[in-house]
């Protein structure tokens, strides 16, 4: 089925298009990111990872997904 009216969101500084009301959990799953190794910010607010199936993405949302890298 062709989905119309995709919305634009920004993930880690990159603009992508998703279907309206896509659950945040579906986005993380789609990106194949292991949930236990990341933290998520939605519009500068930290999201409780247990709640991501209940959060639906809206037009213009800005998401940051971070993890640990090497550092001093």
């Amino acid at each position: 089925m062709k989905v119309k009216n995709k919305i634009k969101i920004t993930v880690n500084g990159k603009q992508i298009q998703v279907i309206p009301n896509l659950a945040l959990k579906s986005l993380i799953t789609k990106l194949k990111i292991p949930l236990n190794k990341i933290a998520i910010e939605l519009n500068k607010k930290i999201i409780d990872k247990k709640r991501i199936s209940k959060i639906n993405l809206q037009k213009g949302d800005k998401i940051e997904i971070v993890h640990f890298i090497g550092g001093g």
Partner: protein
């Protein structure tokens, strides 16, 4: 003589050497160097996940946070708000409360911005974080950090990554005299003897990244640093002789022929 363990925020650590995980050629090399260093705390940074390369290796796949203590840092932060945002995210990844605060003030010399550092330490402490603070080697600022709840004072030996060794031994000694908090030299170590000197000045530990990661043989340097920290600590605890301007013979003249 059995030494006390390094105790930070009521937690004991076996090693007095803390190592960074940046600048290595690969995660594999990093993991091997950490093992050789004997460190049980490693610093890590918080950055965006690469969403276009889903198969890219992750630090956590090579260094198990269940076996070694991750110490999230605030590298790249130039004000309190950015530092707090970064450490809140770090805490969210896996519940880390013990953190390394570093708020820089200058992109070239990488010196800490102490006003923002002090403000961040206070705010983070109020939020329940246990803050180990990268700071200048200024005894007055060290005292103020302690007063707002820092759990470890971590003055620089020299600029980050410079490898210049300890530039101001007097200040480090003064800070040592005034604080009971863990005192850890963070930044500026170049070679093993620098780490020994830090420990001989009475520091509780040393934090090293570049000097190991960028050595020609990082694994061997990691081991050298481990031994240097142990050696310097034993030397400190053993009580050195008083330095004299003139010689003092080791062999008696009694019975000389």
């Amino acid at each position: 003589m059995v030494d006390k363990k390094l105790k930070i925020a009521n937690k004991n650590f076996k090693s007095r050497l803390i190592v960074g995980t940046g600048k290595y050629k690969s995660f594999r090399e990093c993991a091997t160097a950490i093992k050789a260093s004997g460190a049980d705390i490693v610093t890590v940074a918080v950055r965006r996940v690469n969403i276009s390369d889903k198969n890219k290796a992750r630090l956590m796949d090579y260094i198990d946070p269940k076996k070694i203590t991750y110490l999230p840092n605030t590298a790249g932060c130039f004000n309190a708000e950015d530092a707090i945002r970064t450490l809140r995210l770090a805490r969210e990844i896996g519940g880390w409360k013990l953190v390394k605060l570093e708020v820089l003030g200058d992109k070239k010399n990488l010196f800490p911005e102490m006003i923002e550092t002090l403000r961040s330490t206070e705010l983070l402490t109020k939020e329940g974080f246990k803050v180990m603070v990268y700071c200048n080697d200024d005894p007055l600022m060290a005292k103020r950090l302690e007063n707002v709840g820092a759990v470890a004072i971590m003055p620089l030996a020299a600029p980050i990554g410079s490898g210049l060794g300890i530039q101001n031994r007097v200040n480090i000694k003064i800070i040592r005299r005034q604080t009971k908090l863990p005192l850890i030299i963070d930044a500026g170590i170049g070679q093993a003897s620098d780490a020994s000197i830090a420990m001989e000045l009475g520091c509780d530990g040393v934090l090293i990244n570049t000097a190991i990661a960028k050595a020609k043989n990082p694994i061997q340097m990691a081991e050298a640093m481990k031994l240097a920290v142990i050696s310097g600590r034993k030397s400190f605890l053993s009580g050195r002789i008083n330095p004299n301007l003139f010689g003092s013979r080791s062999t008696t003249n009694k019975g000389i022929i």
